[in-house]
């Protein structure tokens, strides 16, 4: 199997080349991170289509996730571009406070105010001084993507809203920084599963985003936590480092979001050790979860052994997604189901400083064969890399996005959509991680395989 070295971005466009088949939103896309916090209300200061585009792309069409989108926006026009938009923002915030209700307002700015030099911070701080729970996140679209925007939003809420807390820490309380809401179509169910797992081993959890979060009140509790858990290859590290510096909170970084019993057991034991939890309780929880999990896996093994079917089961793994699910799914498919790593393309443009760590995490997945890892965001380039992969004798399966449909058909491989854009899945609470999610993932994969063979 060919293995190219992880490819650096060409120098000619400074690491931000023109892109085909876009796989993330802009910094302002972090509006969805605000929407993901119960009781938080975004207000955007940007052009007329900016906020809707980000939301419709990340939520409306990707997994059809829905979510609350009644977002006040200045919808900047000629007048604001020529004369400045701060006054209009002031008017819109004032009207929002009169009409809408929320526990926390988050003002996000786009490209236009940054280019024309609006002083958004002073407009927002005027309201904050009057006791309005409102913060400002500078999310100019051209400064990054929705991953970096997510950390800007988190930091804005921490610095401008969370308690300036200097008291003792609350033992057993953990802040979780993990999957990116909406970008990952399964984030709602996944965060609930993470919370369930951590709760099961005796922690109290600030999950911070999603339906099981207590919303703004939970964010107030962030400084009290015993530690921060960064459960992703890199997203959340910047926030955790900031909290470490600000409150002296230590953090535990586990790059692999756990799928399946082996990985989840490792994850829970690592967390328990770090937090100093009662080991017996942790083992009791793991044992109970594993008992259920392995009963289902035992039943599934009849199908997987092929005694009841003539299906051609996939053997080689092609994964095209952002690093969190890429690493998580790859680990599960290699370690639990015994597939061969063939081509793993990371698509969210992670910070240069974090890339070596990501590659190392992939390299550790398999003793038998090297895991070919690439960084590529451009759809044309991704297609080229996958088609150049030697799959001789293998039956490939593709984990990717809607963009990979054409590619998967060309490879005669089933496609499991796991990332944005994900337009052929309707997702509610489905999770693919932990003990329970792993079973759903197996169902999804092999239902797709069976249907592909029987229904064409």
């Amino acid at each position: 199997m060919t293995s190219l070295s992880p490819n650096p971005a060409p120098a000619s466009c400074g690491g931000s080349c023109p892109l085909e088949q876009v796989r993330y939103a802009c910094t302002l896309g972090a509006i969805t991170s605000v929407i993901a916090i119960p009781g938080a209300q975004p207000i955007t200061h940007c052009g007329p289509g900016c906020a809707s585009k980000q939301f419709h792309a990340l939520s409306g069409i990707s997994g059809y996730q829905g979510g609350e989108f009644q977002v006040p926006s200045t919808n900047m026009g000629n007048r604001e571009v020529i004369f400045g938009g701060a006054d209009r923002l002031d008017t819109v915030i004032g009207a929002t406070l009169k009409v809408m209700e929320a526990d926390l307002f988050v003002v996000l700015s786009g490209c236009v105010p940054a280019l024309i030099g609006d002083d958004v911070a002073s407009v927002v701080s005027g309201y904050r001084k009057r006791g309005v729970p409102i913060v400002f996140a500078e999310t100019n679209g051209y400064q990054g993507n929705n991953f970096t925007g997510h950390e800007i939003v988190a930091r804005a809420i921490i610095d401008q809203y969370a308690d300036d807390y200097a008291g003792p820490v609350q033992p057993g309380l953990v802040n979780v920084w993990s999957l990116l809401p909406y970008q990952n179509p399964f984030w709602r169910g996944d965060l609930e599963e993470i919370q369930r797992l951590l709760d099961g081993i005796g922690l109290e959890v600030n999950i911070l985003f999603g339906h099981s979060s207590r919303g703004a009140e939970e964010w107030r509790q962030v400084p009290r936590a015993q530690f921060n858990l960064v459960l992703s290859p890199w997203l959340g590290l910047e926030t955790a480092r900031h909290l470490e510096q600000k409150y002296g909170q230590p953090f535990l970084h586990i790059p692999t979001v756990p799928i399946g019993a082996r990985e989840t057991g490792r994850f829970l034991r690592a967390v328990a050790d770090f937090a100093g939890l009662d080991r017996d309780r942790v083992e009791r929880f793991i044992a109970a979860e594993e008992r259920r999990y392995y009963l289902y896996l035992r039943d599934f093994s009849a199908f997987y052994a092929g005694c009841t079917s003539q299906y051609q089961l996939p053997s080689a793994l092609v994964v095209v997604s952002d690093s969190a699910y890429n690493l998580a799914v790859s680990a599960f498919m290699i370690d639990q189901l015994g597939l061969v790593p063939a081509c793993h393309i990371i698509t969210e443009n992670p910070p240069e400083a974090e890339r070596a760590g990501i590659v190392a995490a992939f390299r550790a997945l398999s003793d038998d064969s090297e895991v070919p890892v690439y960084f590529a965001e451009d759809g044309y380039e991704i297609d080229r890399i996958v088609r150049a992969t030697d799959l001789t004798g293998h039956l490939p399966i593709v984990f990717g996005t809607t963009w990979e449909d054409e590619l998967a058909k060309a490879l005669d491989a089933p496609l499991i959509e796991i990332g944005y854009p994900c337009t052929d899945e309707v997702v509610l609470s489905r999770s693919y991680i932990g003990y329970r999610g792993a079973l759903h993932l197996i169902e999804r994969i092999y239902t797709t395989v069976v249907r592909a063979e029987t229904m064409g």
């Binding site: 080349c17 896309g29 289509g49 900016c50 809707s52 409306g60 009644q70 006040p72 809607t402």
Partner: protein
């Protein structure tokens, strides 16, 4: 008024037509005050009772932009590559345009594949030093990878503000590569309404993609400009011996090229009439001016107008009689089933007027509607295209007619006032989700040809009957969720309660 096709930028709708986006009152007042006077600033030129002025609102909510419309409709043109010269966020629309194109292709029998679009992915450095270098790189990439027949280059708010000269870059590379490069000036901030995006793409098509030296008039070829979706026009026009050249909403380039050879152009929505007016102005292809074919009478007149323009009067009455007889039994059944139902229409301008006519012909009571913008005039300036007046004259007034650019809080108030049995709306934006959450069954029209012609009444009527039983779902959700508005706004029934009354 003459369309200026010499300039690469289309004039915005508010400049050309006096388009407004915020208004509240009864439809007859809006029709009277519009009276083709070209809007507030140019009063006295027509017969308006008073100047047509806009409301103002201290609150506004995220809406849509012209860039999204222009780029989407460029992307679904076959054999093209669209370059969005912008930061990455503008290209978020690639994902839903992909979904749209694939769906469209499947319905129209084209190859289902990913549409081709590239974003120049501008960053902070480009904002400081300019982005034309990246644009050049993107155009070269598009050419090297796809060898398209046409490349569209769309501007964005950012590149408009920093002043990137996309036309010069496009011209230089067009000469060098030998491929047509069409610029689309669609900075979102330049027009207050997204429908200006239609004008931008149609301006580009008129300037660059229509064949400038048509060999001969094709007497049986009629252009039909539509928003997208199945071809409902050929079954109506083929019996007259006409071939339909269906354009926009996903067009092969040869169809766009031969528009100048056609014998006439019909539009399914006057919001898209820039192209039709331009074809008449530049190539003498006459535009069908009859009111849009929503409802039987209007469809009769539309067919008669087309027959007259194309010299087919001998066949048209038989066609009309046959079609009316064909739909009559089912129409009668639908009218019985829909009797006593109250509907609410939310769509864009002429399209909304058309759906209102459909509902009223189906026997549905509609006394409230919500239009995303309002054009007091059309580019042809022909009063027969005054679809709102036509609606009021044919079907009577609409007591509550709200113009609002898809503002959720205003639509909430309008629905609280109307309390309809169902909502029929154009799919985009917030209305469908809003109505559902208020416990109201909703019929979103994705493919906007659904309500046209004789069959349109059947299609819409049947669709309404399919969604009415879903009330049980929506009401259950409504009872268990709420919107983040304060109590007083939840009870408010005037969409413009926050506004200072218009002068």
């Amino acid at each position: 008024m003459t369309l200026n096709l010499k300039h690469p930028e289309a004039e915005t709708r508010e400049q050309r037509l006096g388009t407004i986006t915020q208004w509240e009152g009864c439809a007859s007042d809006l029709a009277r005050d519009s009276a083709f006077t070209s809007g507030c600033g140019k009063a006295g030129r027509g017969a308006g009772g008073k100047r047509l002025c806009e409301q103002d609102s201290p609150l506004s909510q995220a809406s849509m932009c012209a860039e999204c419309i222009a780029v989407t409709n460029a992307t679904i043109i076959q054999d093209s590559v669209v370059i969005q010269h912008s930061p990455i966020g503008c290209a978020a629309s690639q994902s839903f345009t992909c979904r749209y194109y694939r769906d469209l292709a499947a319905r129209r029998g084209w190859e289902v594949k990913n549409p081709q679009s590239i974003c120049t992915n501008l960053t902070e450095r480009d904002m400081v030093f300019g982005g034309v270098g990246k644009l050049e790189q993107a155009i070269r990439t598009a050419w090297a990878r796809h060898r398209p027949k046409v490349i569209f280059v769309a501007s964005s708010c950012s590149t408009g503000i920093i002043g990137d000269d996309i036309d010069s870059t496009a011209q230089a590379l067009e000469a060098e590569l030998g491929v047509t490069i069409v610029t689309l000036h669609c900075e979102g901030f330049k027009s207050k309404h997204w429908s200006s995006g239609w004008d931008v793409i149609e301006h580009g098509i008129l300037r660059r993609l229509v064949r400038k030296d048509p060999p001969a008039r094709q007497a049986d070829l009629i252009n039909v400009i539509h928003l997208g979706g199945p071809d409902v026009f050929s079954p109506l026009l083929e019996p007259l011996g006409l071939r339909v050249n269906l354009v926009m909403g996903g067009s092969p380039l040869d169809r766009l090229a031969r528009m100048s050879e056609a014998t006439a152009t019909a539009t399914m929505c006057f919001v898209l009439s820039y192209l039709a007016t331009g074809l008449e102005q530049e190539y003498g292809v006459p535009e069908v001016k009859a009111p849009l074919p929503y409802g039987q009478d209007a469809t009769d007149e539309w067919l008669r107008d087309i027959a007259r323009m194309t010299g087919r009067e001998d066949r048209v009455e038989a066609l009309i009689a046959r079609e009316r007889a064909r739909v009559a039994p089912e129409l009668a059944r639908l009218r019985r089933a829909l009797a006593g139902k109250r509907g609410f229409v939310a769509a864009g301008a002429a399209f909304a007027h058309g759906l209102l006519a459909d509902l009223r012909e189906l026997g549905v009571t509609v006394d409230a509607a919500y239009s995303f913008h309002h054009d007091p005039s059309t580019d042809s300036g022909d009063p027969r295209q005054d679809s709102l007046s036509h609606l009021v004259e044919t079907w009577g007034d609409v007591a509550h007619f709200t113009v609002s650019p898809d503002q959720h809080f205003q639509a909430h108030a309008a629905l609280q006032r109307a309390k309809p049995d169902f909502v029929i709306c154009r799919h985009t934006g917030s209305i469908a989700a809003l109505a559902g959450r208020l416990g109201i069954p909703v019929l979103p029209i994705f493919y906007s040809n659904d309500g046209l012609g004789y069959d349109g009444l059947i299609t819409i009527g049947r669709a309404i009957l399919r969604i009415l039983p879903r009330r049980r779902f929506y009401q259950d959700v409504a009872a268990h969720s709420s919107f983040p508005y304060q109590r007083w706004w939840k009870d408010e029934t005037n969409p413009y309660a926050l506004s200072i009354p218009a002068v």
